[in-house]
């Protein structure tokens, strides 16, 4: 297994490709439509469902949560993961940040007219970078970021992105990101990963190639536009990169090109695979960057009430 050198090179028209997305976005008003959600609001924060228009035009939705109080508050954008369900930001993020999650095109509540299939989304249009669904999904993510940082209660000095490596492209394409946490590679070196992966969702690409074996070059060409490696130099945010096991995809050798390419100060976190240990480490780093208290995720009965365990 080769884990130390990347095989993709930046397309010659990379900037033009992404500039065109920005031009499309700029030409489409976001037309925000915000509705408070009593169900998802707490004693600490108010959550809204906000509809926004992205390129297409396509109507997407974000969960936006705002802490109670005068603000300004640090902001946190959670980058989309691969799945049909998007939930509101976690309770503890809602306490500390103006936080947003994105129901991007194809996911539930943003599935009209396009309902993404899982599996299926990853290869929908993959042979053409102008037709790959992730072109629109990245535009949705950029649109959500623009809306988030434009809110008056957001502290513009403390804007963070957390989640998959999609955050690298957002931080490269937009100014104002102060902290970036990359927990899991998805688009980074995807052209290197799928040939050696049997697990879904990456296996979707191998499935596609079984049906269309001649499309490998077209697929790799598309993936190159979206490889965070080719965007990393434009990132100025302080960045935390979580790194997996040596010798494996996501390990130090695998991640080294991205880490070297990132333009901001980079720290590495060695994943322990103890889920809560790893969660707490990232949370602590983000909290420090954002000037808020870290939050462990083990809750005490006193925090929840009034219904308590063993209340009978």
């Amino acid at each position: 297994m080769t884990t130390s050198s990347q095989t993709t090179t930046a397309p010659a028209d990379l900037d033009a490709y992404w500039d065109a997305i920005d031009v499309e976005l700029a030409a489409i008003p976001a037309a925000p439509e915000s509705e408070a959600s009593a169900l998802h609001s707490t004693e600490h924060s108010t959550t809204y469902r906000v509809k926004l228009t992205s390129i297409g035009p396509y109507r997407i939705e974000i969960f936006l949560s705002i802490p109670d109080g005068p603000g300004p508050f640090p902001a946190l954008l959670l980058t989309p993961s691969y799945g049909s369900v998007v939930t509101p930001p976690s309770y503890d993020d809602r306490m500390r940040y103006v936080a947003a999650t994105i129901r991007y095109r194809g996911t539930r509540h943003a599935d009209k007219p396009y309902a993404a299939a899982f599996p299926g989304l990853l290869t929908d249009g993959i042979e053409d970078p102008d037709r790959w669904k992730f072109r629109g999904i990245f535009a949705d993510t950029l649109r959500a970021f623009e809306y988030l940082v434009g809110l008056p209660m957001v502290d513009p000095e403390h804007v963070a992105i957390n989640g998959t490596d999609a955050g690298v492209i957002v931080a490269a394409r937009r100014s104002g990101v102060s902290a970036l946490s990359v927990n899991a590679p998805f688009f980074y070196r995807l052209a290197d990963l799928y040939p050696i992966a049997e697990a879904y969702p990456f296996e979707e690409i191998n499935d596609h190639l079984r049906a269309f074996p001649d499309s490998v070059h077209a697929i790799n060409r598309t993936l190159a536009y979206f490889d965070p490696l080719h965007h990393a130099a434009w990132v100025t945010a302080d960045t935390l990169v979580s790194v997996g096991d040596a010798g494996a995809p996501g390990g130090p050798e695998w991640m080294a090109p991205l880490i070297q390419a990132l333009g901001g100060a980079v720290e590495q976190y060695a994943i322990t695979h103890e889920g809560q240990t790893d969660y707490d480490a990232v949370d602590r780093w983000l909290a420090q960057q954002q000037g808020v208290d870290p939050r462990p995720r083990m809750w005490m009965p006193q925090d929840i009430g009034p219904w308590t365990a063993n209340s009978r």
């Binding site: 799945g83 509540h109 049906a211 322990t272 103890e274 083990m298 009965p301 063993n310």
Partner: protein, 339 residues
């Protein structure tokens, strides 16, 4: 209290504040008509024609595994979708042990190709409300957990549990499946469905492996976490505090702790002692009422991952010991189970 919790808790601190997970006393009570309630549902299900369909999916099939997109009819006539993966005869000869891989709360059913490569005839089921099974029932996510939560006769999990149990009928309808070797496995909601299926189909289930079993001690868990999905219950009760008794009454008919006493087959349970999504306490409440052989594994500092990084090989060995797939010793491995 919230301000005081500004750093990660050590296991010792956690134990000091919440007590040992294994010592947790459940508030769940078993309704007197619990078994009758589910016998009526399963009787209705048995009277419903299965109407199985199988469509080959050549591009997702490999030299080792044939993949089919499948469908069957479940409770209330709802059509359920999913995936069926079986070894090619050239890869492993039948009959094959059957294995149902049951999904987590937000995830879509996986294609169990990696299990089929090990020698299982494996089904990845999409209970109602999941993509491929949401044309007739679609409460949305978040939302499934609280859909009709004050009425046990229309609560979302009434049909959802039945759909997972019915997947076993689909497996049994396949001539290449050995009916004496049927297993079930999943994590989080998949862990819950492992329990409910093992209880509702105790006549045929050989063994089950359940990670971070969700839907056990609903109200106890909601009182121990602000993480989704249980937070859905907290949100609901914040809006409708007067419905707490009705909610609790409904949920006792769907609580895995009440199913667990009907699970007689060998089971393996694994939990993360720092799981914020499914508090580990209720894993021990399951253990305490199970009449059969149980292996209970706990992983310190692991969260909802339930130690899967270390546990996955053990799950493979456990299932292979009871189900004897043809290629258990071939050095192959299943895709890591996610909740």
């Amino acid at each position: 209290m919230l301000a005081a919790l500004s750093r990660a808790l050590s296991l010792e601190e956690l134990v000091t504040i919440r007590g040992l997970a294994r010592d947790h006393q459940t508030s769940v009570q078993r309704p007197a008509d619990f078994d009758a309630f589910w016998e009526a549902i399963m009787s209705e299900l048995a009277d419903t024609p299965l109407e199985p369909t199988m469509a080959p999916v050549p591009h997702r099939s490999t030299e080792a595994v044939e993949v089919y997109e499948i469908g069957y009819t479940s409770l209330d006539g709802v059509r359920i979708g999913g995936w069926y993966c079986r070894p090619r005869e050239s890869w492993a000869t039948g009959p094959y042990p059957g294995l149902s891989i049951v999904p987590g709360y937000v995830s879509e059913p996986t294609l169990p190709k990696s299990w089929a490569k090990l020698g299982y005839a494996a089904i990845g089921v999409a209970p109602r409300g999941k993509l491929r099974s949401h044309q007739q029932f679609n409460p949305g996510y978040p939302g499934l957990l609280i859909h009709n939560i004050v009425d046990r006769n229309t609560y979302s999990y009434r049909g959802f549990y039945a759909d997972a149990a019915r997947a076993i009928d689909f497996l049994l309808a396949q001539p290449e499946v050995d009916p004496a070797r049927i297993g079930v496995h999943g994590s989080s909601q998949g862990g819950a469905l492992t329990f409910t299926t093992a209880a509702l189909r105790s006549d045929v289930i050989t063994c089950g492996a359940a990670g971070a079993p969700y839907l056990a001690g609903f109200m106890d868990c909601a009182a121990l976490t602000h993480s989704y999905p249980y937070e859905e219950i907290n949100e609901y009760l914040r809006l409708y505090p007067d419905r707490e008794d009705a909610v609790r009454s409904t949920l006792e008919y769907f609580d895995c702790i009440n199913f667990a006493s009907n699970v007689a087959c060998p089971m393996r349970i694994y939990v993360g002692l720092a799981d914020d999504v499914v508090p580990p306490e209720t894993g021990y409440n399951l253990l305490n009422v199970m009449p059969g052989e149980v292996e209970m594994i706990e992983y310190d500092r692991c969260g909802h991952d339930a130690g899967i990084y270390w546990e996955m090989p053990n799950v493979e060995v456990f299932l292979a010991r009871h189900l004897e797939p043809a290629l258990a010793d071939a050095g192959l491995h299943a895709q890591q189970t996610q909740g």
